[in-house]
Amino acid sequence: MNPFSSGTRLRDMIRAIRACKTAAEERAVVRKECAAIRAAISENDQDYRHRNLAKLMFIHMLGYPTHFGQMECLKLIASAGFPEKRIGYLGLMLLLDERQEVLMLVTNSLKQDLNHSNQYIVGLALCALGNICSAEMARDLAPEVERLLQTRDPNIRKKAALCSIRIIRKVPDLAENFMGPAASLLKEKHHGVLIAGVQLCTDLCKASTDALEYLRKNCTEGLVRILRDVSNSPYAPEYDIAGITDPFLHIRALRLMRMLGQGDADSSEYMNDILAQVATKTESNKNAGNAILYECVETIMGIEATSGLRVLAINILGRFLSNRDNNIRYVALNMLMKAVTVDFQAVQRHRTTILECVKDSDASIRKRALELVFLLVNDNNVKSLTKELIDYLEVSDQDFKGDLTAKICSIVEKFSQEKLWYIDQMFKVLSLAGNYVKDDVWHALIVMISNAPDLQGYSVRSLYKAFQTSNEQESLVRVTVWCIGEYGEMLVNNVGVLEMEEPMTVTESDAVDVVEVALKRHSSDIKTRAMSLVALLKISSRFPPTSERIREIVMQHKENVELELQQRSIEFNSIIQRHQNIKSSLVERMPVLDESTYIGKRVGSSQATLPADKSSRPTSGSPGASLKLPNGVAKPPPAPLVDLLDLSSDDVPAPTSSATDFLHDLLGGDLMSPSSSGTDILMDLLSIGSPSAPTDVSIRNTISSNQGNAGEPKTAPASVMDLLDGLPSNSSLPGDKNPIYPSITAFESSTLKVTFSFTKQPGKPQNTMIQATFTNLSSNTYTDFIFQAAVPKFIQLRLDPASSSTLPASGNGTITQMLSVTNSQHGQKALAMRLRIVYKVNDQDKMEQGQINNFPPGL
């Protein structure tokens, strides 16, 4: 019995539901039906099972929960007859999805159905599998599907191919199994199978690079042939759409070509002819033709095409761009964005058309066009483009203004070459759409103004003018208020007037008026008001006659509900009234703000005026870099005193020569070894035990009276040591000789002994000469004797050649080798060394190694 043809209950139910006038009625009907169905389910009713499921599906489509019907689907699928299976699988696809565990129970039924003799049932199973299988099911049933790819029935083959696509998407590892069958599918004649095969190949390429290589090698030719055949085929009524045979096959084949040809010159060359043919032959008056041309252009852009082909593609895009149909124009704009990377000049030619598209009434087209314009901006056209965009900003829709503003701001920031132009454009944008401007944008503007002293007068005057006309734009108000506060006197006294400015006179009270308006407007938010209060304070210092008036204005907020405003009001009032003397220093001109923190990379900018220091420390040899110290004035290269304060830093600044002299003066004697430019000052301070040959005799007089014999040079270090009492001093008497360090046994084993003896050169406390003596303790002679040493990073080591490479046995002779060690952290860290010795004894290689920790301190 066909459950649908008689259709009494199902149709009746649908009618009943449609007849309901209100949602409550509908709910009642649905509830009754669900109850009946649930009863039938619990009774395990066989006859009406499919009808009940059909009703349940309808109810599900209306939006009601139907989980109780899931097991019914399974039971129906497990039944023998086709109609039951059909409705069961339909229910399965509608009521369940791959994330539910119930789906796993179907795996067995699916397996049986995939092996069924009835082709239609196999089709049902493949359909269900292809639409909702999970990864585990995919893995389980993949072998069945592979087998089905080879059946004779084209319907099954095409379904199996599409099912394989899903399997590969879920389990990419299985891609290798499908490579061979997919390639053979491309030799089909049946369009359905062919299109499924092409799609399968496309997904294989996406899933695994091996498959891509395989298909590239074996199938490029076949693919080109497919496209050629379908392109040249005569009229085929079955597949004809708008005069073109099977445009879908065209498009899929072109897409696969794109994947195979990408990055591979050989296959791209093979495709050139057919692409040119399709591009020129396809008619573009109907949508189907345009769809093919679009895909063709995408493919040409994607592969390694000849330049002739590329020109052809750009021309097609140009034609699309001027088409009246919005869809075509949208598609063209999309493509042009990709074409920009390929051929920038060609796209530039269409700039005017693209600009027109920015003003189109369709939101999708506007968005695309704006993004494309952004990609096209370069140094040459930035001024005209920005002008156009700003003109459009005035008339654009509210929802578009946000995007447009953001884009204009980023263009202006990225490409501005002169500060004047940047400031002008930003003022315009602020006047037109200040409410959409993001905070960091107008922060950057303020930073820019503070860095351009010659333009500050111009800025404050322009802002004053702009305020008169567009004072509802919040960001504009904020920037204006800040500038008037900072540069008020430039406004009133017409400082720094540029050529193109019209003359205008602004009195002090006009300036105060502006800020007062900003403060009192209803629409000003707290931030603006707070900024206004600060600006008023600054003005009262710059223009003393207005103090009283300002104080009154400020006092009005003494009891403001907002804590911030109240606090500012009371504090500023107190400053104005009582603390006249410090007022001016409190509100001095702000320091030049560090631009590098705010402004990003500039494209092709030759702006050397940007002070580009990232660190406030002077690099060696660049005395021009200014130091940002709190009192806001750029300082000359810092006095060495500053360096002295850098004691804690590991990053050692290279002292300029003046610093060295000063240090010399302070500490007496040439305590710094000239070779080490990275000397830490601290080290010099604690440079103990250094033999000194001081060059400045006069300095010693400045040192305390601890000095003994003024004439003896060697007391200088002694006086240093006395001054710095308490520091470990292990140098021996500063005598005429260099301090002596005891020799140590650096290494001793049963077969070898190594001793080190030390000498230091006068005036070079970091350098130590070590004489290493090797003694053979065994009774065999060592040959090919090689000594190697490793030292930590702060030490430099130099090995001189050894006296010989043969060490006689039993201490009958020794090898000596000189080492020179420089400790850059002399005084802070002790010497440490690892040694390794290799030699041959009785034709055997031997190696000994060890660490030396017993260096005398002070080395």
Partner: protein
């Protein structure tokens, strides 16, 4: 790849919803609501493509029904427009001048047609004739 297909009327009722990606029921309802809102307010002069979350919707209005397909960002929009049209033609042929009521009362058949036309989010068959024939064979099996 097609992610889902929706048929909705002007009031927002969904007459057909086929999902090729897994979504919870509540998510499905949300999606249907959003798509309807997007699509119903657009001027007929505008493009048939709208951006939706991270994908795009290709839609077309036929009488009182909106046929919407959600596809990946990289897909060919014009091709899917043709796809929608082909589907409508098939329905028209099958139901002989189809109207919305046909789709309501015979939803199970509509799903079957759809399953013969698109599988796993990809096109299965491009010939109207082949699909109609196949439907005929399936009916005979009943």
């Amino acid at each position: 790849m097609i992610r889902f297909i929706l048929l909705q009327n002007r009031q927002g009722k969904t007459r057909l919803a086929k999902y090729y990606v897994p979504l919870e029921d509540s998510e499905k309802h949300k999606v249907e609501y959003e798509v309807h809102r997007l699509v119903v307010n657009r001027d007929p002069k505008f493009t048939n493509f709208v951006e939706f979350r991270t994908h795009k919707i290709i839609y077309r209005r036929y009488a009182g029904l909106f046929f919407s397909m959600c596809v990946d960002i990289t897909d060919n929009e014009l091709a899917y427009l043709e796809c929608i049209h082909l589907f409508v033609e098939i329905l028209d042929h099958f139901f002989s001048n189809v109207c919305e009521l046909d789709l309501v009362f015979n939803y199970h058949k509509v799903y079957l047609i759809l399953d013969e036309f698109i599988l796993a989010g990809e096109l299965q068959e491009t010939s109207k004739k082949a699909i109609i024939e196949r439907m005929g064979e399936l009916e005979k099996q009943e």
